[in-house]
């Protein structure tokens, strides 16, 4: 695996032969699919398909472990928000009343629907991050004719975030070397003392900003003025060619999206009423 600022990507993968724009297009469009699908089973199916694509792309699935706590926490937050903190709804069907809290079927159903919508979105994002190097993101954005300044600011933000993390490690090690360490202390203590890291980190970041600006000026870059109006050649893009197969993939993704819209709005598919998982859950709860 190779480390990127976005995470880890496989050293070799068949997906690298695909144009970065297709990957970004996949992320942007497939992330929208769950918004039009209420049936949890379909959203779970999309999640499985995306995971299968990750396997095909030789992504080490152990990477998913870091997302599991996030997914579980999110599930609990959603469930609690919809049920315990969901309020009074006399129009809904009351299933249980526990310690003064009403549990309505519609609220439980909505929590399941929302959670199952988020899962494929997370999977799609993870798929993108684990198969795209930083350069791929920039190339994809430039292929979409995003103004250079926007792609450049995005690249700088990525770069800067990496530098801040490195600087944070330096500050932490320097403070540990002088006997300041929050390891093993309470969370409250850590939060209170976090300022000890933040002040030098902030000062370092200010210095980095100055150095970064000087580096940009020294390379003849300018956001505004005459220098900014120079017609730029985009050398990086010469390494990437949008092939026929890339066009086919874009067409397939677009086609699937269109089919989804037709099935949803013209044929009424993927609704909560059409979901067998929700029907089964209803029987279980009631």
């Amino acid at each position: 695996m190779n480390k990127t600022l976005l995470g880890y990507v496989p050293a070799e993968s068949p997906i690298y032969s695909i144009h970065p724009f297709v990957k970004l297009y996949f992320l942007l469009v497939v992330s929208l699919f769950p918004m039009f699908i209420s049936s949890p089973e379909i959203n779970l199916l999309i999640t499985v398909v995306v995971l299968a694509l990750m396997v095909y792309s030789k992504v080490d699935l152990r990477i998913l472990r870091i997302y599991i706590p996030v997914a579980i926490s999110m599930g609990w937050v959603i469930l609690l928000s919809y049920t315990v903190l969901g309020g009074e709804h006399p129009e809904y069907e009351l299933l249980y009343r526990v310690l003064g809290v009403n549990f309505y079927w519609e609220r439980i159903r909505d929590a399941v629907v929302v959670y199952c919508r988020i899962l494929p979105m997370i999977a799609t994002m993870v798929f993108f991050l684990t198969t795209s190097r930083e350069r791929d993101v920039i190339v994809a954005m430039r292929t979409m004719r995003t103004p250079f300044v926007v792609t450049y600011v995005f690249a700088m933000a990525l770069r800067a975030s990496g530098m801040v993390l490195e600087d944070f490690q330096i500050v932490r090690q320097a403070e540990q070397a002088r006997g300041f360490d929050t390891a093993g202390k309470s969370i409250a203590y850590k939060i209170r003392k976090y300022i000890m890291y933040m002040i030098p980190l902030f000062a370092l970041s200010l210095r980095r900003t100055e150095e970064f600006t000087n580096a940009l000026v020294a390379r003849g870059y300018a956001f505004t003025g005459e220098a900014a109006r120079v017609k730029r050649a985009d050398y990086i893009l010469t390494h990437y060619h949008f092939r026929f197969s890339d066009g086919v993939l874009v067409a397939i993704i677009s086609g699937l999206f269109l089919v989804l819209l037709v099935m949803r709005y013209a044929q009424g598919k993927f609704s909560v009423e059409a979901s067998w998982v929700l029907n089964w859950l209803y029987q279980v709860f009631s």
Partner: protein, 291 residues
Amino acid sequence: MTALIEVENYTWQYLNAPQVSLNAIDLRIEEGTFVGIIGPNGAGKTTLAYSLDGLIPGQYRGIKHGTVKIRGREVEEYPRGQLQQKVGLVFSDPEAQFTAMTVEDELVFGMENLGMTIPEIRERLEWVTELTELTPLLFKPPYEISGGQKQRVALAAVLAMTPEVLILDEPTSMLDPVSRKRVFDVLAKLKQSKNTVIVIEHSLENLIPLADRMLLLSQGELLLDAETRAFFQHMDLLLEKGISPPGAMRFFHEMAKTGRYAGELPLSVDESLAKLETLVASRRTANGEMA
């Protein structure tokens, strides 16, 4: 030779600074010269480099007196982007000067800013990667390579813009001896091809063999400006200002102080050896004659 850089009675004081950083500097650098600048910390070396590259007064606020001209034109008069085609600056911290996500992107960034065409960029990229031996690293992210490689990338990125004068501000201050030598190997190639190079450096062992001329800055003043050999004959002044010349040179200086050696101080180890052999031979001859 044509004067590429002309600095006349130049004084610079940063805003709110208690004293001037550079004071009444007069300097003239001809095309094709390799200049070394040395001096203790706070001497004004970086300020001078920034002044030549237009970062001062462009990016910093302060009070300026006198003139800094590149090719007969004041640095402030150049539109941004044009001065960088004439003056290239490599900073001391390689980490801080990267602006891109791969080594290749980093190298082409400056050329794209100058409005070069794809074939021009390709040609220069090939030339600069060969010169700095960076070809195997082209697709690596800059944060994954070693310190020495990073500094070579920074140097290559500026070189690719083919500036008329290249300024390096302590380019090896964060490098180990092996990486330091590799950076100086690149500079040696530049000297061979008659480029104008200005190097601010503490590592004199590597700098001396390349420098045609040396400058000593101290507390904002240009104390000494001479051809390299003549420069190091002012050893007492250099030592007084905290400069640490190579051991062999100091050895001969000590010999000279105690009257055991008269003549110019050698600039390199090889030269020192030759002088020492001559000295020993002459002593043996003298002792033989006496006997």
